[in-house]
């Protein structure tokens, strides 16, 4: 549990991801792992609709397709190397002590899962290479990553500068309590202003829990600004975020079961979709 896995892919968010990774690595004094996953496209390149198969059709087709894949991979490999080298230079300039470059042939989700056992934090952009820069929805991989890993995930948005304050959405559930515990135990957010925001829900004793959490954070040395809102959850959080100077959002991920979410939608995903701030998801 000690590397900052930073996922680069050459998309519009790559620079922000890189800066966020460097920031986290420096703050936590952990090695920075720059990860580039070479993803395989499921699209056929050459088309031969003749439908005729002759002598040795299988082996010649295999050769042809392997050669094509080889070309594609080589290009992707080179591009990735260049990108990683670039990122390394930037990281070195900003004082990262330990930098590791890794390239893997797989889906980014798989690559992250493979490396997760040695991860302290995963930094990823909100959408990948395939999408246009003004693409508003979150990338298809984000949800998979958040669901599958057990390490905190930092989702970088368009720009990233070292945050001074963060907003913690606290709903009194177990996942939120865990998130608070991790904030206090981990070092990433130490020294920042904490906007503790709770939106009233059906849970009983939420107010007491909210107060207790505020005290706990304060005792741990955070500068806490606590607010108890009575709006609808999502709108309340969004409003608070815009009205106060918040640099980063922090949430415990997915309080619903997968089934419930399919019907209700999750606030976490909604938040990711509708914000331009970097977002830290604690598991």
């Amino acid at each position: 549990m000690n590397k900052i896995i930073t996922c680069l892919d050459g998309s519009a968010f790559s620079n922000a991801v890189c800066s966020a990774g460097i920031w986290a690595a420096n703050k936590l004094s952990k090695p920075l792992l720059l990860l580039h996953a070479i993803e395989k496209e499921n699209v056929a390149a050459a088309e031969d609709l003749s439908g005729a198969i002759g002598l040795g059709a299988r082996s010649s087709l295999l050769k042809e397709m392997a050669a094509l894949d080889e070309q594609r991979s080589k290009v992707a490999l080179e591009m990735g190397k260049e990108m990683l080298a670039n990122a390394q230079t930037i990281a070195e300039q900003q004082g990262c002590a330990q930098i590791i470059q890794t390239q893997r042939h797989s889906d980014i989700v798989e690559a992250i899962c493979d490396l997760e056992s040695d991860a302290r934090l995963i930094v990823i952009g909100r959408s990948g290479q395939g999408n246009k820069p003004d693409f508003n929805a979150i990338g298809s991989h984000i949800e998979q990553v958040i669901r599958q890993v057990h390490t905190p995930v930092l989702i970088a948005n368009k720009d990233f500068s070292a945050p001074k304050s963060f907003m913690l959405a606290y709903d009194g559930r177990e996942t939120a309590d865990k998130a608070v515990k991790r904030i206090i135990e981990g070092g990433l957010l130490h020294g920042m202003t904490c906007h503790l925001v709770t939106v009233k829900n059906k849970q009983s004793g939420l107010m007491e829990k909210f107060k207790a959490t505020e005290k706990m954070l304060r005792d741990s040395g955070f500068d806490v600004k606590a607010s108890f809102l009575e709006d609808a959850i999502f709108a309340g959080l969004m409003d608070y975020k815009t009205n106060n100077e918040v640099d980063m959002l922090v949430m415990g991920a997915f309080s619903h079961s997968k089934l419930a979410q399919a019907f209700l939608g999750s606030n976490t995903l909604k938040m990711i979709e509708n914000t331009h701030l970097p977002m830290l998801i604690l598991r």
């Binding site: 499921n42 088309e47 031969d48 609709l49 439908g51 005729a52 002759g54 002598l55 397709m65 392997a66």
Partner: protein
Amino acid sequence: MLEKMKLEWLSNIRGDLLAGTVVALALIPEAIAFSIIAGVDPKVGLYASFCIAVIIAIVGGRPGMISAATGAMALLMVTLVKDHGLEYLLAATLLTGVIQIIAGYLKLGSLMRFVSRSVVTGFVNALAILIFMAQLPELTNVTWHVYAMTAAGLGIIYLFPYVPVVGKSIPSPLVCIIVLTAVAMMIGLDIRTVGDMGELPDTLPIFLWPDVPLNLETLYIILPYSVGLAIVGLLESMMTATIVDDLTDTKSDRNKECKGQGIANIGAGLMGGMAGCAMIGQSIINVKSGGRGRLSTFVAGTLLIIMVVFLDEWIKQIPMAALVAVMIMVSIGTFSWSSITDLKKHPLSTNIVMIATVIVVVATHNLALGVFVGVLLATLFFANKIGRFMVVKSEQATNGVRNYQVIGQVFFASSEQFIESFDFKEVVDKVVIDLTHAHFWDITAVSSLDKVVIKFKREGAEVEVVGMSAATETIVDKFGVLNDPKEVEKLMAGH
């Protein structure tokens, strides 16, 4: 899960649509030809191809693979259809599906690892030969017109792709069929056409329960066929899946494919279709045409039934010679020609396995039997080879004491040699048998050791066995060393 579905269905829409169309066109003649092999109306094969392709597209474990009515399966049903009729074939198809689903749940897909490469090659070659042989009845006792048509058809199929521009965008088997049909209709040749071979579908398939008595007698009739069909179907599907895996450099879910094929066959049986499985030739055509996702299989099945239902009047006019030409192409494309040139390079035992598989299949028309013989032979050859990994060293220690050190693999194939390695005629007071570096794989090995000990005792020698527990660690059925380097090293120490 939604993500995965999107990836498997919608990530290659253009390629899948085009490839699916090409495959649908190629499937029609094949489905008709295989129905004729099985001895049923063309509509049985066409309905089957539709149902199987569409269902497996949804529930199969290998996106991009084409499944439909196949020659391998058709060959197994010939006698069932001849002796008992179509309804029993439909019932057998249902049962085949059930058996395949059970196989999927028992994870038998992983058993494919026991089928060696030579057996796979033999299977593929035998299949190609059988498809070719099935065309022979169409080519015997016919006028020269048929030969001319078939030759012209083959010419079109293989040469048309070289025509610039259109060559690579219009399937040449389709061109072959259209041209030959037009020629035959224009000059009014009196040769056999698809219409002569039986009924074609004029509606979409409808649900119908096979009209057989539900009793044990029926089960006795259909069970042997269903078991054979299930085995051959799974074998060919697993082999095709491997081929598609290799071509596209992706993985397939074999047990899901087993279950999926079971469901597809049940669907086919209930819709009046015969049993089917994955098709090597068509899957290669699909990948070659750019098909990668589930959509290609789905499109192939759907388009097939649409074309057949709307064009049945035209399809009836297709001369059999055109179909024969297409089937000869499929046979040639399926045959592994490199296996012939490899005969010189490969060791004799490998060649024997391959050729034996081919001979048994061609002789019995049963691919399951061929694979069984191939696997058996391959296993025997392997056991024989490993049996040679054994040596018994012997040295005189002190006066009247002889040390034997056994190194290597002791099991049924090497136990005789093991016994013979001891010199029972020598007069000694004490014999020490060191088994520390030996592996006893089965009880045959243990009983041969017992024999050796008893023999020495009879000669009046005292016997001491060293390292017995280490040697017999491998005798239990499951010893946990797979993927555990430390354990493997411990086990293989001294080899």
